[in-house]
């Protein structure tokens, strides 16, 4: 159910009916699928994956049929269409998610090994449980330019969550398969952005009582190098300036897939989720890279794969199967 308001320059062609999740673990993409291009960068070597050990199941839900709804919050974006987006973040973010589907996406496939409905503490789902879904078409189910009023210059977590609920109400959606991404406009600095975080995901409750997983997605390029600008040497036509948009966006999306209730899904013993364990790796296994999804290139960080190296676990940017990942 969608009450999408076109944003002028952005058209969303996702079809909810086409969003069919695979049920099997390790949804194998063909070996001929576009391959991740690992690009080492000039940063000094950083340590291996963070956190503590493998991810384990906490008893909550995972996202089995991803539906992404993007809310452009505030009249600063523009009144009837997006006219104030100096870095082109809105179009890049939308393109990123619009390419994250099917066999042409061998990046988010690493998360389909995780599942719900198994014993708490499980680290390998195998064929048990219900797995994280990998859509066969774009997971983007709607966009909304909420320009009724200006977003606050420094919105609080409470205000951001309220905007996520407005988005859920606008789209008339709720549930753990929904992800509302609240995009703050250029110049708006949510409390803690740039210095404590680049983005985060959380859970709120819709007016109808259902879960609303949501993401606080600030205007990432406003943070510059702190949130990923030029983290990877630009290649494949991508802009170094905007690398953080997809690095951070992919991090939060993967974490929402595996822990939509923000604390009861797949975490390690130190409370790290899949993206945190692999954040800002600049060389070696799991180094951030430029990948190709369905013919388009994007900068991404790696995500954590429990079944890498026969269950030893590590960070990967390419995942075709449990025995073909790196």
């Amino acid at each position: 159910m969608r009450n999408r308001i076109p944003t002028g320059i952005i058209a969303v062609a996702a079809s909810t009916a086409a969003l069919i999740a695979f049920a099997a673990p390790a949804q194998a993409a063909p070996a001929t699928a576009h391959h991740a291009t690992v690009t080492a960068n000039g940063h000094a070597a950083s340590p291996a994956f963070g956190g503590s050990g493998l991810l384990s199941y906490g008893g909550g839900t995972v996202v089995t049929t991803p539906h992404v709804y993007i809310v452009y919050w505030g009249s600063q974006w523009g009144s009837s269409s997006i006219t104030n987006d100096p870095s082109g973040e809105a179009a890049l973010q939308l393109s990123f998610f619009n390419h994250a589907y099917g066999s042409g996406d061998t990046y988010f496939t690493s998360q389909t090994q995780y599942c719900q409905g198994v014993a708490i503490g499980t680290t390998q789902c195998g064929s048990s449980g219900t797995h994280v879904g990998h859509p066969s078409a774009s997971p983007v189910a709607g966009t909304w330019l909420d320009s009724a009023s200006a977003a606050p210059n420094k919105p609080s977590a409470t205000q951001l969550a309220a905007e996520a609920r407005r988005g859920a109400s606008h789209f008339a959606v709720s549930g753990d398969n929904v992800q509302i991404i609240v995009d703050s406009p250029h110049g708006v600095v949510p409390s803690g952005f740039k210095t404590q975080y680049c983005a985060y995901h959380d859970l709120t409750t819709a007016s109808t009582g259902g879960d609303v997983p949501w993401t606080n997605m600030p205007y990432v390029t406003d943070a510059g190098a702190a949130c990923g600008s030029n983290f990877i040497p630009a290649s494949g036509g991508i802009s170094g300036t905007t690398e953080g948009v997809t690095i951070v966006g992919g991090h939060e999306y993967a974490e929402t897939l595996t822990d939509p209730q923000a604390g009861s899904g797949w975490l390690d013993a130190a409370g790290y989720e899949t993206g945190d364990k692999c954040a800002w790796i600049s060389s070696g296994q799991g180094a951030s890279a430029v990948i190709t999804m369905n013919g388009a290139n994007f900068a991404v960080q790696s995500e954590f794969s429990n079944n890498f190296n026969n269950g030893a676990g590590n960070c990967v940017t390419f995942y075709s199967s449990a025995t073909n990942q790196h």
């Binding site: 956190g51 404590q196 975080y197 985060y200 991090h251």
Partner: protein, 148 residues
Amino acid sequence: MSTRSRLAVTATATLTLAALALAGGCGSARHTAVSDPPSGLPACHAPEAPVLPHTAGSLSETDSGAYCLAAGRLLDVFLTAPGGSAPATRWSRISTADTSVVGYGSAGVLTPPVDVTAGVFKAVHHGVTTLSSTLPNGTVWRVTIVVQ
């Protein structure tokens, strides 16, 4: 979050719990409210206002001393590597010395900035423990958490 004065974090900041107790829980200068917990626990300060949803307070690398946290509440911690550090220099994962007093919360909800190490901790049971982290050069950050 208010701007925090940058305090040099050195190995001398690795105060022991006993020393903290003797010093009456001497926190960083920006924290003025000191409470006297019941049942013999050391005095402690309230942490800075929280950054993340659902948390009760926040600490940074400029903080030292003893901080109060009510049982069941969450605390977020953000440690920023010193300016001018070599690329990829970061504080290590923030550890709790006694998970029966302060356990690990869900820190993975956020993407930290490149030079920031983040952690979320949950006050589990009345008592005292420490949170700590180190820089590659051996500098240690450590605070005491008093769970009331």
